[in-house]
C-alpha cells in the first residue's frame, strides 16, 4: 500500500522550476530523495507538506488528498526540517508540553520511553543539544504521536560519522515492523546505500529516476567508464550525472 504518492508536482520560481515530479512511497519502506544542493529536494518536501504552494500536481497521503485533509494527515506524520531549530532557548519539556496538546494519539508512556532510550534530558534547552540529539528529539515527538510517515529533510547533514550511523540504524529499526515509512532527503548518498529501499533522484528540478535501490543503481550502470568492473555506487552515479566542466 502506498502511504505517499506525489503526482505531477510542479512549482515554478523565477529562476528555478520543479517539473513534473512523480513518485510513490510504500508502507514500511524507506525512500531516499537525492540530488545535489539546490536540486529541489527541500522544495519537493515543502510542496508535499503544503508549506510551499505547487503550481500543479497532487499529493496523496494515506490514500487521501493531502490538501483537502491536511489537519487529519498531519496527525499521522512527523517532520524533521534539517537545519531549522525551533525555540532554541526553550527547554525540551516546554516544547513537548505544547506539542502534545495538538495530537489526538499522544502516548505519554511512549514519549517517556523514547526520552530514556535516546538519553534526552527534559530540562535541557534546544540550543544545548547536539545536531544528532535535535534530530532524535524531533523523532521522539513524531513517534510519541504515533506517526506513520516520517518526512526528514537532510536529517544527517552536519553529523559526525558515528552519529550518522547511529541515526541510520534507528531509521532502519523504525520501519522493521512495517507500520512506519520514511521519506528522507539527503545529498549524502552513502547513507542511502545502507538503509534505503527506494531512491528518487532529482536533478535541477527534474525527476531523473525513482525506483527500487537495486533497479536504480542498475539503470545507471551505463555511466561506467571503460575498464571499470565493479558496480557504480550511488555516489559515483550522482557525481557522474552532475559533473560539470568549466570553460575558464
Amino acid at each position: 500500500m502506498s502511504v505517499l504518492s506525489v503526482i505531477g508536482l510542479t512549482k515554478r520560481y523565477p529562476n528555478f522550476n520543479l517539473q513534473d515530479i512523480n513518485f510513490s512511497l510504500s508502507q514500511g519502506k524507506i525512500m531516499g530523495l537525492i540530488g545535489k544542493n539546490g536540486a529541489g529536494k527541500s522544495t519537493t518536501l515543502k510542496c508535499i507538506l503544503n508549506m510551499v504552494h505547487p503550481d500543479s500536481g497532487t499529493i496523496k497521503m494515506f490514500g487521501q488528498d493531502f490538501k483537502a485533509n491536511e489537519e487529519k494527515c498531519k496527525q499521522e506524520i512527523g517532520v524533521v526540517l534539517g537545519g531549522i531549530d525551533f525555540y532554541k532557548h526553550k527547554k525540551i519539556s516546554d516544547i513537548t508540553a505544547t506539542t502534545k496538546r495538538f495530537y489526538k494519539n499522544w502516548d505519554e508512556a511512549a514519549y517517556q520511553k523514547y526520552l530514556q532510550t535516546f538519553s534526552l534530558i527534559p530540562e535541557k534547552r534546544v540550543k544545548d543539544l547536539s545536531s544528532g540529539m535535535k534530530v532524535k528529539y524531533m523523532i521522539t515527538l513524531a513517534l510519541s504521536h504515533n506517526a506513520k510517515l516520517l518526512i526528514l529533510d537532510e536529517p544527517t547533514s552536519g553529523l559526525d560519522p558515528v552519529s550518522r550511523d547511529d541515526l541510520l540504524g534507528l531509521f532502519r529499526q523504525l520501519v522493521v515492523d512495517g507500520e512506519r515509512s520514511i521519506l528522507f532527503s539527503t545529498h549524502i548518498t552513502s547513507d542511502l546505500e545502507k538503509i534505503a529501499d527506494d531512491i528518487t533522484y532529482i536533478k535541477d528540478g527534474n525527476l531523473l529516476k525513482s525506483a527500487k535501490k537495486a533497479a536504480f543503481i542498475e539503470s545507471f550502470q551505463h555511466l561506467k567508464e571503460p575498464g571499470e568492473t565493479g558496480e557504480l555506487s550511488l555516489e559515483d552515479i550522482m557525481i557522474r550525472t552532475e559533473r560539470s566542466r568549466y570553460d575558464v
Binding site: 515543502k46 507538506l49 498531519k74 531549522i84 525555540y87 505544547t98
Partner: protein, 213 residues
C-alpha cells in the same frame, strides 16, 4: 484554538511582551505622556514577532495539525490579548492616580475616557498595518513595524498635543461631566478596534495563504 494560544504564551511569546503589557501601570506616573503606553503595546508584539522569526515559530506552527488560517488567528489573538490585558492593568492605576495625585498630568492627556478611546483607535490602525503587512511574507517584521508605527506615533502625538489647545481642554478632563462628553470617542474607538481586528484577520489570512514558507 486554545492550544495555539497556549503555544503562543508558553513558547512563542518573547518575555518582553509580558513586561510591556504590564506597563499599563505607567498611568500612575505623576507627569508622563501616557500615550507611550500605547506605543509599548505596539512594541511588545513587534519584539515577539521578531523573536518568532528567530525561533522559527512559523515553521513549527506550519507542521502542527492545524489550518494555515489558525496560525494567523493565534497571532492576532495574542496581540489582542496583550493589548487588552495592558489596558485592563492600567485601569486600577488610572483610578488610583486621581485619588492619590489629584493634580493633573502636566505632560499630556489624562488617563480618562477619551484616552482609552484614542488608544483603541491607535491600536486598531497599528494592528491592521503591522499584521496584514507581516503576513504578506511571514518574515518582514521590521518593515511591517516601521510602516505601522508611523500612523500610530502620529496618533499618539495628536492625542498628546490636542489637549493643550484651549478648545480641546475637555478632552483632558477627568470630571464626570466631561468624561461623559468624551464617551463617543471611547465607543468609536472600541468599534474601530473590533471591526479592524476582524478586517485584519481576513486580510492577513488571505495574504498568508499565498506565502511559500
Amino acid at each position: 484554538m486554545f492550544n495555539l494560544l497556549y503555544k503562543e504564551l508558553r513558547i512563542a511569546a518573547h518575555p518582553n511582551l509580558f513586561v510591556f503589557t504590564a506597563l499599563g501601570m505607567l498611568v500612575i506616573v505623576p507627569a508622563y505622556p501616557y500615550g507611550m503606553v500605547f506605543l509599548f503595546g505596539c512594541l511588545g508584539p513587534f519584539i515577539t514577532f521578531m523573536y518568532g522569526r528567530e525561533t522559527n515559530d512559523i515553521y513549527y506552527t506550519a507542521l502542527l495539525p492545524v489550518k494555515k488560517s489558525d496560525t494567523v488567528k493565534s497571532k492576532i489573538m495574542l496581540v489582542v490579548l496583550a493589548q487588552m490585558t495592558q489596558l485592563l492593568i492600567s485601569l486600577p492605576f488610572a483610578f488610583l492616580r486621581v485619588r492619590v495625585i489629584p493634580e493633573g498630568n502636566p505632560a499630556g492627556i489624562e488617563a480618562n475616557v477619551a484616552y482609552y478611546g484614542f488608544g483603541f483607535m491607535i491600536y486598531a490602525v497599528f494592528n491592521f498595518i503591522f499584521l496584514t503587512y507581516f503576513f504578506k511574507t511571514a518574515y518582514k517584521v521590521g518593515n511591517a513595524f516601521l510602516l505601522a508605527m508611523i500612523p500610530a506615533s502620529l496618533g499618539v502625538m495628536f492625542m498628546e498635543v490636542i489637549v493643550h489647545f484651549p478648545q480641546f481642554r475637555w478632552l483632558d478632563s477627568i470630571e464626570s461631566k466631561m468624561m461623559i462628553r468624551q464617551l463617543p470617542i471611547l465607543i468609536i474607538g472600541l468599534l474601530a478596534y473590533v471591526i479592524m481586528m476582524f478586517a485584519t484577520y481576513r486580510v492577513s489570512v488571505k495574504h498568508f495563504e499565498q506565502v511559500d514558507l
